[in-house]
């Protein structure tokens, strides 16, 4: 077998010609995966649109149960984390090990803040009996306001969308912790930061999805 070691840096797998081909492949692969993600969420958005077109009044009513303030705070939190991920990539590109670590840490922190806020939102709703599926059991006051036979469906969609999105946030946190540990060992530099780059792409998509979820779920007046 031809020996490429002279021209092959350690991080380049044997089946790639060079570092750039590997980087571009990883990035393309991630984009193709994001196409998947978009259509995966697309199914939920489609269900949302179909039911909203059928029952517009339901959506106006039900959205009142969602707290716009905390939804907006979470939007800002996710935007912030997108910014820090972008900064993390920039740090890696500039060989700034410290900057990379700090930015990753802030991102993880913001992602956790997002989940905590989401947790309290869920908690509050479950408390009022606005629960998914067979647990649907709104308190009398709520039932008086949410006076629609299909109210359970709106919240079915709400819970599916936010839970699937939340799952993506959790996966993102796990990936970011892994990146952080590798960054501390000095695995990344301006020559090789592919994992940071593609995890970043993933994280931005999680943000993108939320950018649409927020007005669609919270901002119906």
């Amino acid at each position: 077998m031809a020996n490429h070691s002279a021209t092959h840096p350690k991080h380049v797998h044997h089946h790639f010609v060079d570092s750039n081909q590997q980087f571009e492949s990883a990035k393309l692969g991630m984009w193709v995966f994001l196409v998947n993600e978009i259509l995966f969420f697309g199914g939920l958005f489609c269900a949302y649109i179909v039911f909203r077109a059928w029952y517009p009044e339901l959506f106006t009513q039900a959205a009142l149960e969602l707290n716009t303030f905390w939804g907006a705070v979470n939007t800002v939190v996710l935007i912030g984390s997108s910014l820090t991920v972008a900064m993390a990539i920039r740090s890696a590109q500039n060989n700034q090990k410290r900057g990379l670590e700090i930015n990753l840490l802030i991102t993880i922190l913001l992602a956790c803040v997002f989940l905590v806020i989401k947790y309290f939102e869920y908690e509050h709703k479950l408390h009022l009996g606005i629960a998914p599926g067979s647990f649907w059991n709104p308190t009398p006051e709520i039932a008086a306001v949410l006076d629609h036979p299909k109210a359970n469906i709106f919240f079915g969609i709400y819970y599916m969308m936010t839970a699937v999105h939340g799952l993506h946030v959790i996966i993102g946190i796990a990936l970011m912790i892994w990146l952080y540990l590798r960054a501390r060992k000095g695995h990344f530099n301006s020559e090789y930061y592919t994992p940071v780059e593609i995890t970043g792409l993933y994280w931005h998509l999680v943000d993108l999805i939320w950018i649409f979820l927020f007005p669609l779920l919270y901002l119906i007046e």
Binding site: T7, V17, D18, S19, N20, Q21, F23, E24, K27, L28, W31, V32, L34, V35, I38, L39, G42, G43, F45, C46, I49, V50, A53, W54, P56, T68, A72, T75, V76, I79, G80, S82, L83, V85, A86, M87, R90, Q93, N94, E191, G200, L201, H204, D207, L208, I211, F212, F214, P215, L216, L219, I220, E221
Partner: protein
């Protein structure tokens, strides 16, 4: 085949912060507009227009599509196109039914 160039674009910190702040402003804007209570189709239209603008900023600059190969942008646009296709063809059924949920 060794490709000499390592021309990955490095965005400046100023650019990134600029985008972040723009996103923030747009978020405040969309909440404010929602508070105005525009009449029916316009509320959702403005909300979606603002969301699309935000999405564009994230995709173009945070995700670097602006500097990237066109093919990656095509993938994103293609995904959106197929999503729209799915929704619009489904609506051809659901919007034109006699009974919303047939026979139950």
């Amino acid at each position: 085949m060794m490709s000499e160039h390592h021309g990955h674009h490095i965005a400046s910190a100023k650019q990134l912060w600029g985008i972040g702040i723009a996103l923030l402003i747009l978020t405040v804007l969309t909440v404010t507009v929602a508070g105005l209570g525009l009449p029916s189709p316009f509320d959702i239209l403005t909300a979606m227009a603002i969301a699309l603008t935000k999405a564009f900023l994230v995709a173009a600059f945070f995700m670097g599509l602006y500097w990237d190969t066109k093919f990656n942008s095509m993938l994103l646009i293609g995904a959106l196109a197929f999503f729209i296709l799915m929704v619009s063809i489904t609506l051809l059924d659901t919007l034109y039914r006699d009974d919303i949920v047939p026979s139950f």
